[in-house]
Symmetry: D2
Subunit: 137 residues, 4 copies
């Protein structure tokens, strides 16, 4: 079952067209991923970064934006893992408007498990692999 | 011939891993597009938005990130239009590290010509279509 | 009694020093103000902006930063109004680390009530004045 | 003589009111300071952070915003140091609209010299002190 989190669109997230500036939608995905780690992986992403010096930078992104989010909206975001490789993880994101459930965006992000000190790909730790796979659809 | 612009990586663009936070790379693409409009289209994007109430929000994004940008880098970004539809434009972006020319990222963004007051797709104005096509590879 | 809201520090909020990039602390204050409007003023700030075309841009800012917020922290923010003028409002913000209650920052922001279409100061609407004064210490 | 740098207002810097979101003006000050370090201090701020593990986080901020920057504007920013203490430096910023020279904002930021690994204040290195004082008005 996908994990779901909610993000309120903020004034500063929106551009002069009144829409959420689209790079900010990727920030929303990252925030959703941070919540996913806390809720499903037994690991605060913050602790992963500071204590284990692991991160999951994005190496490939595909996204579609069906309808804009505007100021006043809240986004409901589903997050799940669709594939776990040796050193990479594919996260899926579905974003919909909270008020009416209309789909607004989807994204598939391939993120690589990186040792932040050496800045090279390393195998996904086993406890994260298990958590990712149990959260997969 | 693609248009090229240069963006200096800023302290505030980088995350605790020391890398440019990846949503910010899409912001860099948007900045490069704004420079492209000024240089190649005879139209400041700002004037387009405020006077003509036209914008080009992104509806589809594909991107690859080969190597991270870090604080201290500058990005050189090529921008060109690979396809002009009736109401949409496909922009191509290639980002490389200025110091050594190494490719760091590429992105293909489909952007729709939108009337910002009515928030609906409208045909790409003829003078922009001509500018886009002359800038195409 | 001040209104209190909580903001989780996000990966993308932090800089290569691992601290919340200080301009982002002002963003946190703005988010707290948006929550204050919703909770105490009977007015979503979003509705104010879009329907009444009113905003409260900042004209004067004073802030102190005692201790940095780092990734992994959450901020608890008190917000209240200390003074209501004819066209301006003084907001007070106190930010502390949620985990241990340590004060991290305080800010006093003078914000002017602006008609966003004409971009000029206008009197604070009476229903907001009442709400601001009842929330004052 | 103050150091002057120029920043183009970007689409993503502006809010639904069409104005530069005010926390972003502090980001502009930080960018101007980074340029100041490169031009006047013989030290890229990036190198300072990564090689010497020194930073200058802000501990006190005072700012006035006289006129908003809007999308389409460019900001000209003067930066200079008005005071150098043992472990702190006071930076002054004056922001004006490039097109007509109108003053838009000013800021006085007290920034402390910090060892980023130990997160404590340390004396300002002598070569920086000399550079700061020669750039003072």
């Amino acid at each position: 079952m996908p994990f779901t989190t909610r993000i309120t669109v903020r004034f500063g997230d929106c551009d002069p067209a009144g829409l959420v500036y689209y790079p900010t939608l990727f920030h929303y995905c990252h925030v959703a991923m941070e919540e996913f780690f806390a809720a499903r992986c037994g690991a605060e992403y913050a602790r992963l970064v500071s204590a284990e010096r692991l991160g999951f930078p994005t190496v490939n992104a595909r996204a579609e934006f069906f309808e804009p989010f505007v100021y006043g909206d809240a986004a409901e975001i589903d997050v799940w893992v669709s594939r776990v490789g040796r050193t990479s993880v594919t996260f899926e994101y579905r974003l919909r408007r909270a008020a009416d459930g209309r789909p607004c965006a989807s994204a598939t992000l391939v993120q690589v498990c990186m040792n932040l000190d050496e800045r090279r790909a390393v195998p996904v730790p086993e406890y994260l692999r298990l958590a990712f796979e149990s959260g997969a659809e």
